[in-house]
């Protein structure tokens, strides 16, 4: 087959302007609706009011009490587990070690029905309470897997002034 060489060739110019307009509008929309969301996580705590739950039978395992004392500025002064005072540079690490010793997690996660009550001073900065909850509820192993220790954590009722 012979292909004829056409003399007059029309140049087709694509109209890019409307496409670029739309593309820029889309870009502006996405830029404005974009917001940086930091990852957040929860500690779930079930604390029904004492009057609402009539099942106030004596628990099989004794209640562990963690006391957090604060100074006037709200900084942590002392951590106490039962009668044991945990002093030192990293009291929460000690607390974690103690809890781990008391609640052996050999039987698998969530195998304990141990309950821990946190009694914190009113003015204590919340981050210490959060660290205490972290120390009590579990740990991450070297592979990054989460192990649960004590799932039932609650705050002690506030002392009446």
């Amino acid at each position: 087959m012979k292909i004829r060489n056409t003399e007059r060739r029309e140049t087709i110019v694509l109209q890019m302007t409307p496409m670029i307009d739309i593309v820029f509008q889309l870009l502006v929309f996405f830029v404005f609706t974009f917001k940086i969301v930091l990852p957040e996580g929860d500690f779930n705590i079930r604390m029904p009011s004492a009057t609402a739950s009539p099942s106030s039978e004596a628990p099989e395992t004794p209640l562990l009490k963690v006391k957090l004392q604060a100074n006037d500025e709200g900084e942590l002064v002392r951590v106490q587990l039962g009668d044991l005072f945990l002093d030192g540079d990293a009291p929460f690490h000690q607390l974690h070690a103690q809890i781990r010793e008391l609640v052996s997690d050999d039987a698998g996660p969530g195998s304990t029905d141990q309950e821990v009550e946190i009694e914190a001073d009113y003015g204590l900065k919340y981050r210490y309470a959060m660290t205490a909850i972290t120390a009590i509820t579990g740990y991450l192993d070297s592979d990054g897997n989460k192990h649960k220790l004590v799932e039932r954590v609650r705050f002690a009722p506030l002392a009446e002034d």
Binding site: D42, F43, N44, A90, H93, A120, Y126, T137, Y139, L158
Partner: protein
């Protein structure tokens, strides 16, 4: 002055291809990272960090978020409240709405507490106690997901 018409005017066209490539890449990036879910975050609250805080597997069915700022204020339903009594009455209103207009029970509602890391623990306890008095029973203490262990920090 007389302007002479030039004979051979050429249309100068810039090469738009690289710009369009870049723009499409930007659009693709923003489309992938965009998050339309309504996350209740507030810049006034800086959450305490914890390595064990994990995002919930499924979104809560009926969450109420209470923020506690470092200046001892409460934020609930978009409004800033200074007194616990104000928070209590706001929550009471919500409980009445739930009781009258929904088939849900108050025990199914999850109270998400977003307290600042420097807020007073006692205030968090007061909020929990107030919610308990109003028959709420499920709480979620929110923390910032941390990659580094927090226990050894003094």
């Amino acid at each position: 002055m007389r302007i002479r018409p030039r004979g051979d005017t050429k249309i100068v066209e810039g090469d738009l291809t690289p710009m369009i490539d870049m723009t499409f890449q930007l659009i693709a990036f923003f489309m992938l990272v965009i998050n339309f879910s309504e996350v209740e975050q507030d810049q006034r609250v800086q959450l305490p960090a914890s390595e064990l805080a994990q995002p919930p597997d499924s979104p809560y069915e009926y969450p109420f978020t209470i923020h506690l700022t470092r200046t001892d204020n409460y934020i609930f339903g978009g409004s800033q409240l200074t007194e616990l009594s104000q928070l209590r009455s706001a929550l009471l209103k919500e409980t009445q709405i739930i009781k009258r207009h929904t088939a849900k029970e108050l025990a199914d509602v999850t109270i998400v507490i977003r307290a600042d890391e420097n807020a007073k623990t006692g205030q968090v306890q007061e909020v929990i106690q107030t919610c308990q008095e109003l028959e709420f029973g499920k709480f979620a203490l929110r923390g910032k997901v941390s990659d580094v262990p927090t226990l050894k920090q003094p």
